[in-house]
């Protein structure tokens, strides 16, 4: 996994899913799933309203 989702912060709003250029994210119920097509571009982390996402370097 190349994006770390802090489940305790995440508000499961799906904004990150909408901006992911690789379509690598999916919002399932109350959590975000990251597929291995993630390119670590970091757009999701940038737009997360609560700062729950971080790219793993």
């Amino acid at each position: 996994m190349s994006v770390n989702v802090n489940r305790y912060k995440c508000g499961y709003c799906g904004a990150c899913v909408g901006v992911c250029p690789a379509g690598a994210l999916e919002l399932v119920e109350t959590w975000i799933e990251v597929e291995d097509t993630c390119t670590r571009c970091g757009v999701c982390a940038k737009i997360c309203p609560v700062g729950a996402l971080a790219v793993i370097k």
């Binding site: 709003c13 909408g18 399932v28 997360c48």
Partner: protein, 392 residues
Amino acid sequence: MKSRYDVIVVGAGPGGSITAKTCAEAGLEVLLIEKRQEIGDPVRCAEGLGKEGLIRHIQPDKRWIAAEVKGSKILAPDGTEIKMSEEASSGKAGYNLDRKVFDRALAQKAAMAGSEVMVKTRATGLLRKNGHISGINAMYMGENHEINADIVIGADGVESKIGRWGGIDTCLKPADINTCTQFLVSNIDAGEYNKFFMGEKYAPGGYLWLFPKGEHMANVGLGIIGSKCGNVRPISLLHKFMDSYMPQGKIIEIVVGGVPVCGPIERTVADNLILVGDAARQSDPLTGGGIINAMDAGKIAGEVCIRAKEEEDYSVKTLREYEDRWRATIGKELSKSLMVKNLLIKITDEQLNQLAHSLSGIDTSKMALPKVLPILFKKNPKLLWELRSLFM
């Protein structure tokens, strides 16, 4: 659940439910699915809308109206106030909803019209037969199902996957999305107007809103354009605002979300596929409002599905009527709003103040924004020059 329907609608928000209801009323076999186990929850919305748009689709019901408002007050960075109102005659211009109850009421209408409804059911992919979309893969309670349909409606919101799977590029760039946080705040005087606070200190490239939700309660939130947020989080800015302007306020709910502000996208239909609402990026780039647009688009989508069924043609040839109709109405407004938004994100707080001051002595309290904009342009032609095509 059957194995085949005329139409499968993915997402039971206002757009999806109106599409499903419209199709079912005409006798089409409809399945409406919602990935959440509860329709309408969690809310991702400031919940305000105009009266006129709402009553096109549903009679107002006090069970889902949290508050009626007289209009809007736009506050410039220096505090200058501009009062506006959509509908002057009744003295009540808009409603602030309780989306949890509203969305459920709309889904109930779709169900009563004959749609089947499945909650906790997530689309996981599209089925294809002879190269055409022929339904969806769906997961319900951990089990996979194949469900066939002539048309799949993607009403799956900001995180839409249906469009992408169907070959439509709906990916939002940072400049195409407002990242938002909202608190439902109690123990405050909410007033009788929806308030919009403009300026960098509140919300870079967006605005901060206060929408009354009944006595002593309001949705207080803000949205920042994704390209301007840097390392600033909407939630931190909102806490800062609360500390300075309403320290007595008590937060009884947190709402987060992203609002598409990109304006019309290139394509919203494909063979056997239609996108509706936020999934089609039909939210207003200036206000962020999306409920009425989604419902209007849902109605059109439903009507086009009925015609496609009559003609037994589910290709773009028939479905493009949807594209044409929503672009001629909703699309035009989105394009105008996009122009105004693109200008607003560039201008400084000082210039915003100047715009507000230029309206001094003019009574805008019975005008809506489309009437106020030409006045602003006339008073500030240089500053607003790039909007000239809207007025000249």
